[in-house]
């Protein structure tokens, strides 16, 4: 093997740095799933009747479904009875302020570089921190409330704004949508809720930080964001988990509703769940349903994702373009290293007239990673003048990884325009040698080439996140170059 290949490999093999666990007293229920468990979760959260009814309907529907198998990834069958469906760090009492959060939990977030202390935080980002099944802290809620913005945990939203929850919950991703969405609807325990009223431009980035701590738990959270006419919000999501030998399931649902005319939601994810070890042992199964609906005329939903973690990533952040002139975007960087597998992409469903969508997907495969782009562009009969542009690029590092592209295009009228571009390239030893010959080390050369490859996506991320994403990519690739 050449030195370039060896360096690529070294580069990829760097250890996961968020793999610690926190010792906090955890309130968890026994493993297993049944109607009683669903009732227990609902009771623990003191939910109104409509919630319990909805959960039960979802659970009963889930029982009739079978787990889908069509993704291009291999994993042993999941035993849904072995998982714990509710685990929460035990609060000493009802949380009134951050001072009452278990200091161990605060420390955890400090260690992750996410300070929940408002004074210490970068101004301009409000955080909802979710550990295992529940939200432990939400910052800046009061400040945002002054502008009429609701930003709180899902649990709080159910208590304080049940009418909004009832109206929009499941309106984009119904519990019947798919196997994992049904499971999530039945047992989801927390998540974030965000409502931006008419004409308000949210003054700071809102973010949710997810952390799985307890062993054997699944994390099933739900995020719901609604933007009224002329409202704008930029939302960030980050996630990590301890290193464990067994696989843990993360089956989240995210629903975005761009309700009013010219409303805009920008949703960015930097996903860094534990990817498993070099041999593919452990790691998170990240099976997530993310979808947005552009209901308002000229509304816009934009998904940006940087996926570097998880043993298996399986998700398609999608946009339903219902309002005329509405706009959907999907920018994605997915990196698979070692034994990681990713089957990700998007769906753009054009219903309204002159709707537009842009898809830019960058897949990077290293080690023995398998990376698939799967995307659907569907243009309905009435979506006259609709336009889509898709670009799917794959970059291969080394010779043991794989890149796959599965584009699906359905066009039902004659006035629409769909463009698809795809490319596959390899970081060649020639490119690395060329950089070396100009004095640039192999590691820097790979970083440079990979970042150059991802540039179009990174520039869509909020500033601090873009820097973070570049670093993360560097760390995730360490040891991958040869």
């Amino acid at each position: 093997m050449s030195t370039a290949t060896e360096t690529i490999e070294e580069f990829v093999n760097k250890e996961y740095q968020y793999g610690f666990t926190t010792n906090v007293d955890t309130d968890k229920i026994a493993p297993g799933l049944s109607e009683d468990v669903v009732r227990l979760i609902s009771a623990k959260k003191n939910e109104p009747k409509f919630m319990l009814d909805w959960r039960l309907k979802a659970y009963r529907h889930w029982l009739t479904m079978t787990e889908p198998k069509w993704q291009k990834a291999h994993y042993p069958p999941i035993d849904y009875q072995a998982s714990i469906y509710y685990a929460a760090p035990k609060p000493k009492k009802v949380l009134g302020s951050l001072d009452e959060v278990d200091p161990e939990v605060l420390k955890t977030f400090d260690k992750l570089g996410i300070s929940l202390n408002e004074q210490k935080r970068l101004t301009g980002v409000a955080v909802d921190a979710v550990v295992d099944s529940v939200s432990v802290a939400t910052t800046f809620s009061k400040e945002l409330a002054k502008q009429g913005i609701i930003f709180c945990s899902f649990t709080d939203a159910v208590q304080k704004h049940p009418e909004l929850v009832e109206k929009y919950l499941g309106s984009v991703v119904p519990y019947t949508d798919n196997f994992f969405a049904a499971l999530n609807a039945a047992v989801f325990s927390d998540g974030s809720f965000c409502y931006i009223p008419k004409g308000v431009r949210c003054p700071m980035e809102l973010s949710t930080y997810f952390r799985i701590n307890t062993a054997n738990t699944g994390q099933f959270e739900r995020t719901l964001i609604v933007a009224e006419e002329g409202a704008y919000v930029s939302y960030l999501e980050g996630c990590t988990a301890p290193m464990r030998d067994e696989n843990q399931l993360h089956a989240a649902v995210v629903e975005l509703v761009a309700l009013g005319k010219k409303s805009e939601i920008k949703y960015s994810t930097v996903q860094n769940w534990y990817p498993g070890d070099k041999n593919g042992k452990g790691g998170i199964y990240n099976f997530v349903t993310k979808r947005g609906k552009c209901l308002g005329e000229s509304s816009k939903i934009s998904w940006t994702q940087v996926e570097t973690g998880s043993a298996i990533t399986w998700k398609y952040p999608s946009v339903i373009l219902q309002g005329d002139n509405s706009f959907g975007e999907f920018y994605s960087v997915a990196l698979t290293n070692n034994m990681q597998q990713a089957d990700t992409g998007t769906k753009m469903i054009h219903i309204g007239k002159n709707t537009r969508s842009t898809i830019v997907s960058k897949g990077i495969s290293a080690g023995r990673g398998q990376n698939s782009y799967r995307g659907l562009v569907k243009i309905m009969k009435n979506a006259t003048g609709a336009r889509n542009f898709s670009q799917c690029d794959s970059l291969l590092l080394g010779d043991k990884c794989g890149a796959h592209t599965f584009p699906y295009i359905e066009v039902k009228n004659t006035s629409s325009q769909v463009e698809h571009e795809a490319s596959t390239s390899k970081i060649g030893e020639d490119q690395i040698f060329y950089c070396n010959q100009r004095g640039i080390s192999t590691q820097d050369a790979v970083n440079m080439i990979v970042n150059g490859f991802c540039k179009e996506v990174f520039r869509e991320l909020p500033m601090e996140f873009a820097v973070e994403a570049q670093k993360l990519l560097g760390v995730s690739l360490e040891g991958s170059v040869g």
Binding site: G428, Q431, Y434, C435, Q437, R438, G439, D444, N451
Partner: protein, 252 residues
């Protein structure tokens, strides 16, 4: 500056260089000529540190240090520059960014402060004139979509910015029309200084009409079979490589 002694090298079991001896002093321009397959590009690749070649005997001293012992990036930082015969494209990596990174690596190595973007641009503007390059090229990704001539000119432009001590030009004339050749050669000549040296590898004599060498070496079958002044190149042009080869065979 460069001292190659009895260098033997090859790929796998195939012997390509069979005892090269060559000394280059500061201020000198050396041309290595030879027919296809004589080992010219192998020599350039080994000096620059490309992977995949086995050196089986001999040594190469560069300013008294063992060149073959250095990683390719260290050789570059020490002032060895290779103008590639086939410069690769690096999509997505901006040319300016790339060259700034390269120059700063060299400066760091010399213990000089790194240049910031403004200082770097000042250097670049001045050097661009030398090669009559269009500034737009610097805004594009490295070599991406460049014509053959632009790629070669870009190599010499990088050389101008990095100011190497030993520049190896590997068939820089191939694929160039006469106008581009003149520009490239003029650029190379302007970069000549008493404290640096150039090793020009070429198949044809025509480049040497514009870059006047102090010494011409004829490489055949992995060995330098003849060394002379620029007149040797002209003689070769006239009589062809066969003339040397016959001599060589008879002599052996």
């Amino acid at each position: 500056m460069l001292q190659i002694t009895n260098l033997h090298a090859g790929v796998d079991d195939k012997k390509i260089l069979k005892g090269i001896n060559l000394t280059i002093n500061p201020g000198e321009v050396h041309a290595v000529m030879g027919p296809n397959g004589s080992g010219k590009s192998t020599l350039a690749a080994i000096l620059a540190g490309r992977d995949g070649y086995d050196v089986t005997a001999g040594q190469v001293l560069y300013n008294g240090k063992d060149l073959l012992d250095m990683d390719p990036e260290v050789r570059a930082r020490e002032g060895v520059f290779l103008a590639f015969q086939y410069p690769v494209e690096i999509p997505g990596v901006n040319s300016t960014y790339f060259l700034k990174a390269a120059l700063n690596e060299v400066r760091k190595h010399k213990g000089e402060p790194e240049l910031d973007a403004m200082e770097f641009l000042a250097v670049v503007k001045q050097k661009m004139k030398l090669l009559e390059l269009n500034e737009d090229l610097l805004k594009r990704p490295v070599n991406e979509g460049f014509s053959g001539g632009e790629k070669k000119r870009n190599e010499i432009f990088q050389m101008a910015v990095l100011e190497p001590k030993l520049a190896i030009l590997d068939e820089t004339d191939s694929g160039l029309d006469i106008d581009a050749l003149k520009i490239v050669a003029a650029g190379v000549n302007k970069l000549k200084r008493p404290d640096n040296a150039q090793l020009v590898i070429t198949h044809y004599q025509r480049l040497l009409d514009y870059i006047i060498p102090d010494f011409v070496h004829v490489l055949y079958n992995g060995r330098i079979v003849r060394t002379g002044t620029k007149e040797l190149a002209l003689e070769l042009e006239e009589k062809g490589y066969d003339w040397i080869i016959q001599h060589e065979t008879v002599g052996a």
